[in-house]
Structures are given as structure tokens and as C-alpha cells.
């Protein structure tokens, strides 16, 4: 028709399906952080150990110059354990304000007045932290294995160490889950991202110091399950078939991590609500 | 009138964004309405006047002295900021008391001033309630109370009526007018033009970081030559009156109201127009019922200068 109808028209296109609405929140959070130069610089620094390991792989496998380095399970485990410091800082950077800033701005009501559920919101927020933590653990871990496989001229390496891929996956996901869920739980407990960041640091460092003191008092490393980072390392040792670093039972470490993760999920679930009733 | 607040070629920029651009003004005793659309630079100007920001260029003085880091002057100044932020754990009385103790008052004087300020803003009944539990209107009033409690000579009020109910607005407007009459210098910013008009006829109109107009709103209107004045006349025979008016060169246009009982004429020379009107009415046997000027107000001035 020559004259088009300018009045309100209902959407005639496709409706996107509900399972992907969380991606809008994740995508926005990722793009916000990706614009920060300081954050990108730190992300680059976090990848330097990966580059260093690639050089070591080249030297050890291709050039055969580094005889004392064995490219086996523990090699990849030690890389991921080394990345724990970077994941700690990244988790604070990406996760401390994830929910806290929304609580401060009273934005939860705005979120939940849209066609998203609480689950979409939480998965969206988690997605931001998981994305960046994956960039420093899972992705470089798998790439490192790929580089090792490429540098080995035969398939023997793959035949012998194909299980390492699953170990890298498992250990990385555990590191990511532990950091992401705990920081989000702390973020949901306050309107201050400062509070979340510093108490996350307290959980990580104080538990390490607690372990150190208790091991000195009791002359044993069986209490290593107290330390979050040492719990991750114990599980890492099991996954990569390395000798256990501590005398603590891996089951104790697994139980502590499971309680921590479950507790974090429960806190997030309890704290994130559209409306708060003030009595 | 001596200038209490003076800005000379004042500019303020944040990186590439110029918030204030070469602004010169003087403000004396009485109430001045600071007007302008969002982003005009009103809040920046208020922060410069209250020493929260330092000018990038130019000078800002209060009581003849530079205000930046000049802390003794703050005893004679009060600022009601726009943001809704408080020490939420405190009660209204504790909040005022804590801030008043930072002035050179003894404990007894502080207590007296707390009572007086709370009484002025009508919060005496909730003095011992935590600010976190205050309604929006109460929060606005306690903010105003902290600005006036030490009886300053210069008050800068950034959107003081925001979030207040009509009764509260009326009370604050009356207070502001009262302070102006007492000889205090009150700078008030607001988006609601008729409320600023109710408080003062002296305005400082800003847009895009510049001062567009300064002074009495009626005088400003008179000076806006390029816009003819509108005069609405309700009478017994509007068409007969139109026939009489249309021959005069200063009359630019005539519109009739849909009801047919009034006309609106636009004239570039309102004084001449008003002068000839009585004779025209008598000569044509027309009964005058009402005469008004719809654009001799702030809305029109704002519209003409900003748009």
C-alpha cells in the first residue's frame, strides 16, 4: 500500500527461546569488563605462564634440551595450580561487584520486571566470571595439551596421556566453580563490592594461614583440608595421578569443597530476590 | 546589591567534556533560580560555588574570597546536594548533631540548633527514627535541615523539592521565600519551572554549559525581541476587535479560540498595543472580559532561549 500504517504494530518476527536469555546478561557483563584496559592488561599477564610453558615444551620435546622436565600429567597440573593466583585476582575483578553493584543500585527489581527468571539472572552473572576464569585455566590448559601433542612427532604421547584432557577439564572446572561461586555468594551478601573482594581474600589467605599454623602445632599436613587452595591442589593431585602433596584425605578435601560450593549456591539463592521485605 | 557569589570567566571540564564554558555571573542577596535542561551545567556550577570542585579556568569567589579549600567560609554556607545519601544508621537528630559539632558551637548550642532545624523542616516527630526508615520526603527534608541548621548566609539548594509531596513543596517554597526576604543568598535549582517562579523572579538560565540569561524573568522576556508577545483577550465581540487590530503594523498575527469568545494577538510592541486597546474597545463598543499574556512567564523564556 502507498501510505504505511505508522501506528503500533505487534512484533511479527521470531521470539527467541527462553533458555538463552541469561546470555544477554553475560554478554553485557563480558563486554563491560573487556573495555577496561587495566583488566585486559592483567588478563594478558595471566597468560604469560602459558606462553612460558609453550617455550618449555618446545625446548623439552622438539629441541630435547631440557632433560629434567617430563611432559606428563603433573606438568599440566602444575600449570593449572600456578594459575590459581591469577584466577583469584580475576574472580575479584570480575565477580566482586557482579551482584553487589546491582543490590546497591536497586537494580534487581528492574531485572526481574523483565522476562527473565532468577535463574537466568544468576546464570548470566556466573557466565561473566566463568568466561574470564576459563580464559586463564581451561582454555590455556587444553591449548597447552594440544601444543604438547603437536610437538610430539608420534601418537605415543596421545596414546599415553589422552586421559590428561579429562583431568584438565575436571581440574579447571573445579577451580572455576570454586572461585566463581564463592565470589558471587560474597557479592550477594553486601551492597559493597569492596566487602566481597576483601572477604574473598580472607577466605583464601586466612584458610592458608590457618592450615600453616595447625600443621605446625600438630606436626601433620593432614589438616590441609582447611585451606581452600590446598583442597584444590589435593583434588588436582588425584585427577592428574600425582603423588598427594599433603597427608590429608582427598575425600576430606572433596567434602570441604562440596560444602563450600553448596553453601555458596544456597547463599546466592537466599540473597537474590526481586523485592526485599523490610520489617 | 553587593555580590555574595561571583564567577568570572569560569570554565570546568572533565577530560574532553566541557561542563561549564566561560561563565560570568554575580549573585547577591535574595533567591536566585538556577534553571536549565539536564546537562546544562547547573550541578557543576553549584559544586563550584560550594567548593566541591576546582575551576579548570577562571575564578569563583564567595564573600569576596576564593572558595576552594577555604574551609572557614563553610561556616557561612549551606549546601543541600541532589544525591539521596546519608549515614543511614543514624537518626535524624544524630545526623544533624554530628554535622553541627563540626561547626564552632558548644554542645548546648548544637542541641538547640538541632531542635530548631528539625522544627523548621517538620521532622521533630521523627527525630529519633533512623534515616534508613525515613520516607523520600523526610529524607529530602533532613537533607535541607543539615544545610540550614548552622544558619548560613549563603544556601545552595540542588533540587530541594525532589520527591516531596505537594504540601511539603509548598512549605519549602515558603521557607525559601522567607530566607530570601531575610537577606540570605539562596541559589535554588529545579526542573519544575512554575515552582521556581513561585520562589523567585530572578533566574540564571543555563544551557550547554553557558549562561543564556540572568536577571528578572519579566525583563528577560521583554528583551527577547525576536519573539513577539502573545496577548489573549476575552471579550464580547472578538471578531470585531480583530478587524480593528489587524490594520496596525506591529500586530503580527491573530488567532481565535475554538470557543469563539477570545482571540490571541501577537505584537512586537506590547506597550503600544496595550496603549491603543482601551480606545479601540470604546470606539467599537466591545466589552472586555479578560486580558492575559500567556508567554510573560518562565516557561516561555525557557522555551525561547533554549529551543
Amino acid at each position: 500500500m502507498p501510505i504505511h500504517d505508522q501506528s503500533y504494530q505487534h512484533w511479527q518476527g521470531d521470539w527467541t527461546s527462553h533458555p538463552y536469555r541469561w546470555w544477554v546478561i553475560s554478554r553485557y557483563g563480558i563486554s563491560l569488563l573487556a573495555k577496561k584496559r587495566g583488566f585486559l592488561v592483567f588478563l594478558f599477564l595471566a597468560l604469560i605462564p602459558f606462553l612460558a610453558r609453550c617455550v618449555i615444551l618446545y625446548g623439552a620435546v622438539v629441541m630435547n634440551r631440557i632433560a629434567f622436565i617430563t611432559i606428563d600429567g603433573p606438568f599440566f597440573e602444575s600449570f593449572l595450580s600456578q594459575q590459581l593466583f591469577f584466577t583469584f585476582i580475576l574472580a575479584i575483578y570480575a565477580g566482586a561487584g557482579a551482584i553487589a553493584n546491582d543490590l546497591k543500585a536497586n537494580a534487581l527489581q528492574i531485572y526481574f520486571s523483565r522476562a527473565i527468571t532468577r535463574r537466568d539472572y544468576l546464570i548470566g552473572k556466573l557466565g561473566v566470571v566463568v568466561f574470564f576464569l576459563s580464559l586463564t585455566t581451561l582454555l590455556p590448559g587444553l591449548l597447552l595439551f594440544l601444543v604438547a601433542a603437536i610437538f610430539h612427532s608420534d601418537l605415543e604421547f596421545l596414546r599415553q596421556y589422552s586421559w590428561v584432557v579429562l583431568s584438565i577439564l575436571g581440574y579447571s572446572l573445579l577451580i572455576i566453580a570454586a572461585n566463581a561461586l564463592v565470589i558471587l555468594a560474597l557479592s550477594s551478601m553486601s551492597r559493597s563490592s569492596r566487602f566481597a573482594g576483601i572477604f574473598f581474600a580472607a577466605v583464601v589467605f586466612f584458610s592458608q594461614i590457618l592450615y600453616g599454623i595447625l600443621s605446625a602445632l600438630l606436626h601433620t599436613s593432614a589438616v590441609a583440608w582447611i585451606s581452600l587452595t590446598d583442597d584444590l591442589r589435593q583434588i588436582g593431585d588425584v585427577l592428574f595421578r600425582s603423588p598427594l602433596t599433603y597427608q590429608a584425605s582427598p575425600w576430606a578435601s572433596a567434602a570441604v569443597l562440596a560444602i563450600l560450593l553448596a553453601g555458596s549456591v544456597w547463599i546466592i539463592h537466599a540473597r537474590v530476590k526481586a523485592v526485599e521485605v523490610i520489617k | 546589591m553587593s555580590a555574595l557569589v561571583e564567577g568570572k570567566t569560569l570554565s570546568k571540564w572533565y577530560g574532553q567534556v566541557v561542563a561549564l564554558n566561560n561563565v560570568t555571573f554575580t549573585i547577591g542577596q535574595g533567591v536566585v533560580g538556577l534553571l536549565g535542561p539536564n546537562g546544562a551545567g547547573k550541578s557543576t556550577l553549584m559544586k563550584l560555588i560550594t567548593g566541591q570542585l576546582r575551576p579548570s579556568q577562571g575564578e569563583i569567589t564567595v564573600f569576596g574570597e576564593r572558595i576552594w579549600n577555604n574551609f572557614p567560609l563553610f561556616h557561612r554556607m549551606g549546601f543541600c546536594p541532589e544525591q539521596d545519601s546519608f549515614y543511614e544508621r543514624m537518626t535524624g537528630a544524630e545526623f544533624l548533631s554530628a554535622l553541627l559539632h563540626m561547626h564552632p558551637f558548644g554542645d548546648a548550642e548544637v542541641a538547640k540548633r538541632v531542635d530548631s532545624a528539625l522544627e523548621t523542616v517538620n521532622l521533630s516527630s521523627v527525630r529519633d527514627k533512623k534515616i534508613a526508615a525515613y520516607s523520600k520526603g523526610m529524607r529530602q527534608r533532613i537533607k535541607l535541615a543539615q544545610a540550614i541548621a548552622h544558619d548560613p548566609d549563603v544556601m545552595v539548594l540542588d533540587e530541594p523539592l525532589a520527591g516531596m509531596d505537594p504540601v511539603g513543596r509548598r512549605d519549602i517554597i515558603q521557607l525559601v521565600r522567607q530566607w530570601g526576604k531575610e537577606g540570605k543568598c539562596v541559589v535554588v535549582s529545579s526542573h519544575i519551572l512554575h515552582e521556581v517562579e513561585a520562589m523567585t523572579s530572578t533566574i540564571l538560565l543555563m544551557h550547554n554549559g553557558k549562561v543564556l540569561a540572568e536577571g528578572d524573568v519579566h525583563q528577560i522576556r521583554d528583551l527577547i525581541d525576536r519573539h513577539p508577545h502573545s496577548i489573549r483577550i476575552r471579550c464580547s465581540r472578538p471578531r470585531k476587535l480583530a478587524e480593528a487590530l489587524v490594520g496596525f503594523p506591529d500586530v503580527e498575527s491573530i488567532h481565535f479560540d475554538p470557543e469563539g469568545d477570545a482571540l490571541t494577538a501577537e505584537s512586537r510592541k506590547p506597550d503600544e498595543f496595550y496603549g491603543r486597546l482601551p480606545e479601540l474597545m470604546l470606539d467599537n463598543d466591545i466589552e472586555l472580559e479578560e486580558i492575559t499574556s500567556p508567554d510573560d512567564n518562565l516557561q516561555a523564556v525557557f522555551h525561547y532561549l533554549v529551543k
Binding site: I89, R194, I209, A216, H219 | Y87
Partner: protein, 270 residues
Amino acid sequence: MADSDGVAKGWRNLKTIANLTLDTLFWSKKTLFVGLLSLIVLALAGVGRAVLVLNLVPTALPASQVFGTLMSTAVMRFLVVFVTLFYGTALVSEEVEGKTLTYLFMRPIPKPTIMLGKYVALVWIGSIMVLPVVMASYLILYVGADMRPFFQDLNVLCRDIGIIFLALLAYGSFFSLLGAWLKHSILIGLAYAFGWEGIVAVLPGFTRKLTITHYLQSIFPHQDTLGALSMLVGDRTDPLESIVTLVLMIVLFVATASLIVREKEYVLEQ
């Protein structure tokens, strides 16, 4: 007369700011979490005592060594750092984020006095959170049938309290400066406390002297079992020199923070 009036007024302003800061920072739910950490330190003292009394291990550390380990690790390397980092970085940044800084800056008080008053509140809070833990740990470990070690080591307790107080002043001044100056003061504070100090303090050479912990460790009387590495790689600085350096650091950091607060424009986001 005018000078004494000015001093009295200055002191009054300082006290007012300190009280306000104490009220807003200390009396909050976050302090409960900090208190919980302090209680865990006490629990460690209880574990140490239990190990001794119940002979849980064949070669248990004596009370003095347990106390020393607790003081040098849990208190000095964690609790003091954590408390001063948490409250120190919040002194100015919490006012900026909460947009309440305007109320303080619109008072007839010099901005450096505001900063100083807040610092005083920080030291006050730190002392409340940390020093009772030190004394209570001592009591838990030493009180018993034989009170001789309790009285014999009292001088160690007094010296520890003095050094820990100095640590509160030093770290408090540094983190206050970070909070007044930088936007991401928490991250930088964490990187300094648990990154820089953790690594550099054990390196040989001059770089160790660029940390607060080096000077504190130099005057700390305890043989730190966990910090033995730092002893292996380098000398301690002379105790008197360490104290003087720490005092100078405190004065420099507080003065710099005051100067920054005076000259910086804090733009409160609308």
C-alpha cells in the same frame, strides 16, 4: 591564647570526625565478619593449648613458641593486614561511594583534619579488633597451675602489643593513603599485602626494604617458623633503625594522604 584555642578546636574537630567514622565503619554487620576472624585466631590459641595439655603430639611446641607463631603469622601477617586493609581503604572511598563526602567537605574543618580524624578512627578500630585477641591468646596459652611462665613472658607480651600497635599504625597509614588516592584500592592493597610483601620480603638485597613487613619482622622478637625463609636469605635491619623508618613511613603516608584529600576533586557519581 589564640594558639591554644586553635589546638583545642583542632582536637575537637579530630575527635568529632573520628567518632563519626567509628560510628559508620565499626558499627556495621561487616565488623561481625572481622570479629569472626579474630575469634578463629583465639580458637587456634585454644587448639595450641589443647595440644599441650592433652599431649596430642609427642613433640608439642611450648606455649611461648605457639604464641610466637600465632603472633607472627595469624596476627601480624594476616589479622593486622586484613583489618587495616579493610577499614583503611574504606576511610575515604566508602564516603565517596556512599556520596556522603559532601557533608564532611561542607564543614568548616580543614580537609587534612578530616583525613587525620579518620586515621585516628582506623587505629582505634584496629586496636579494638586486634589487641584483645593478642592478650586473650596469651591468657589462653599461659594461664594454668604454674603461673611462672605467664609472668616470665609478660615482657614479650608487652613488646608484642607495642609492635603490633606499630604495625596497625604503619599498615593503616599505607592503606589509608591507597584508599584516598586510588579507585581500585582494595585490589592494589591485596596485591601489595599478599603479592609484593609475600614475594619481595624473602628476596635478598635492597628490595626487601621496600616493604613494611621487613621492618616489622626486624623488631619482632619471635622466631617465625613459617617465615624462616626470610631469615635464611638476608639480614634484619637494626631494630632502632626499623622503628625510626616505620615512624617516618607513618608520618609520610598520613601526610601524603592528607595532601591528596586536600587537593583531589572527588567526583561523586550521580
